[in-house]
């Protein structure tokens, strides 16, 4: 089932949560809404679910497979919604939690007792927690609770599955595991899914498509590779992964980065840590002077922390072999040479100067 979001606008008092958002989510895909807190991603998800309504003045629409559902309340939208804090029914067993959506169906559509039992156990099998049917939510770990919440949402055979920061309340290890598991689950059941996250790594790892949001607007939509390799804006580049920012100015049609303290206004050069080379001598092209602050050799990459002329921290990641060829020590004066970089002007517009 495809989802079409058309001109959705939402304000809470004076705060503009969503600013005329348009988005198409193709059928069967797993899409991530990625953005910092306050970017409107959760609000958008809740509007798709029907838990929140868009501002009526903008006459925005939500369509499932081309059919408008904007006026349907949440209980008639047939969406599976997974909450960040699980929202399991605390007075019901795991079995009853999953059976809930089937038991509340109108008499004509309600499955028989045996069918409900069968359905609940097949879902428990899907989330690999068959042995926990008679437990109460308080007796489960966070990861187990979230899997039960997912099974409960899937019980009503939803047209779309919506997950609000599904791993946000879990610790790092369980999170990575559940992330992989969610991807695997989606490959098994292929239900159109949208999940909200502020964790770029999570989005890059799990999603088919990433929608990057900022201040109630969509900054970029694309495959993980696309948004990472080809960010559409300075915001996307900064939000997806670590990035170093060098401040400089334009002089004689060329961008200049001397690393001097007075070069505040002007242009910014964005370079990812693995796109910087550390040299002892300045190169022929752009080389930015910096001073080594700290070197961390433990880990898959050598991490070098430096301070540029403006005393801003610069991070460089290099493979161990490269580092062994030209080792550096703290307080050493070196030159940084960007291999891949992007230049942005005062109003965040992309610039194409020779550097």
């Amino acid at each position: 089932m495809s989802i079409s979001i058309q001109n959705i606008h939402k304000t809470f008092g004076a705060f503009q949560a969503l600013n005329h958002v348009n988005l198409e989510v193709p059928s069967g895909e797993l899409t991530a809404l990625l953005g910092p807190s306050g970017s409107g991603k959760t609000t958008l998800l809740r509007i798709v679910a029907g838990l929140e309504s868009p501002d009526p003045q903008a006459q925005g629409q939500i369509l499932f497979d081309g059919v408008p559902v904007t006026d349907n309340p949440v209980n008639r939208r047939q969406v599976g919604f997974v909450f960040q804090h699980y929202a399991l029914f605390r007075h019901m067993t795991v079995f009853e939690n999953i059976a809930f959506g089937l038991r509340v169906k109108p008499r004509g559509q309600r499955p028989s007792k045996d069918e409900i039992r069968e359905r609940v156990f097949s879902l428990l099998k899907l989330v690999q927690l068959e042995q926990l049917a008679q437990r109460f939510p308080s007796q489960l770990s966070g990861g187990q609770r979230q899997r039960i919440a997912l099974a409960r949402a899937l019980a009503i055979q939803p047209k779309v599955l919506l997950l609000d920061e599904p791993f946000g309340a879990l610790d790092a290890q369980v999170r990575t595991e559940l992330r992989r598991w969610l991807r695997h689950l989606h490959d098994t059941i292929h239900v159109t899914s949208i999940f909200v996250t502020h964790d770029q790594e999570e989005a890059l790892e799990v999603a088919d498509r990433i929608v990057v949001m900022n201040k109630g607007r969509i900054e970029q939509v694309g495959a993980p590779d696309e948004v990472f390799q080809n960010p559409a804006s300075e915001f996307v580049m900064k939000f997806l992964g670590d990035v170093n920012v060098f401040h400089g100015r334009v002089h004689n049609e060329r961008a200049v980065f001397t690393g001097e303290a007075h070069e505040e206004a002007g242009v910014r050069l964005l370079v990812r840590p693995h796109d910087l080379a550390v040299q002892v001598q300045p190169g022929a092209g752009l080389s930015i002077p910096a001073r080594v602050y700290r070197v961390m050799t433990a880990g898959p990459l050598v991490k070098i922390e430096l301070l540029d002329g403006q005393n801003r921290l610069v991070q460089v990641h290099v493979p161990h072999e490269t580092y062994r060829a030209t080792p550096v020590h703290s307080e050493q004066q070196v030159y940084l040479v960007p291999k891949e970089s992007r230049l942005y002007g005062q109003d965040s517009e992309r610039l194409e100067y020779v550097i």
Binding site: A49, G50, L51, P73, V74, N75, R76, R77, Q78, V79, G80, F81, F83, H85, Y86, A87, L88, F89, R90, H91, F100, G101, V104, K105, F136, P137, S138, R145, A149, R152, A153, A155, I156
Partner: protein, 280 residues
Amino acid sequence: MNDTKATTGFWSNAALTAAALLIVGVLIVLPLLVVLQQAFAEGAAAWLASVAEPDARAAVWLTLGVTAAVVPLNTAFGLAAAWAIAKFRFKGRSLLLSLVDLPFAVSPVIAGLVFILVFGRHGWLGNWLDAHNLRVVFAVPGILLATLFVTFPFVARELIPLMAEQGSEEEQAALSLGATGWQTFVKVTLPNIKWGLLYGVILCNARAMGEFGAVSVVSGHIRGETNTLPLHVEVLYNEYSFTAAFACASILAGLAIVTLVLKTVVEIKGEQAADNGGEA
């Protein structure tokens, strides 16, 4: 040195415990014993006679009747008010919250007087009520209104913090699973608050049976008609019928003890339920 410390601890603990026991004994246990002793001072037969006397019986029935009418109404009002206040943000929310608290803030006697001013013969609605041959003040409807007013906050006050703490995510989950509003209320909201609700109902019940001030103002003290049990006790006492007064008082005391036992049971059950389904 450890020994000294332990001994000091022992003595201070003992002193505190003794003080607590003394206060409870003098203020609560002793009066209760006096009530019982006075009630049975002339033997069980005299007690029975006082209690079975028609006016006393009428007072018991009136009290039970008023309670039976008021508690369900205030349970419904309290639930509705708590639900609205705890789960929604709307204009006038804090006003509603203040209104819920109003009966706690206003002296019951003042509340009774307000009802007289509104419904009494010389009150705002007095002429209209007279014309339609309706009696509110110095009749059962007045007692009902006064008791309703005084006991209004109990259920709501018990539920508001509980419901606010639980939030509305479970309700949203139920709705997203296709439940109707009513199904959500019955299957999710109500089971989550049932012990708190029961606790509020018991407190409301206790106050409804024992209310004196507001009821005293609006009742008119008509024997066998508008005298509730607490009022009847006062009337008998003022007539120097001590045995009869204490006999009736012992019934109230008995009802209070039943309430206390129920309350304790509910509290324990509620805590167990919280332990089971606690921080889900």
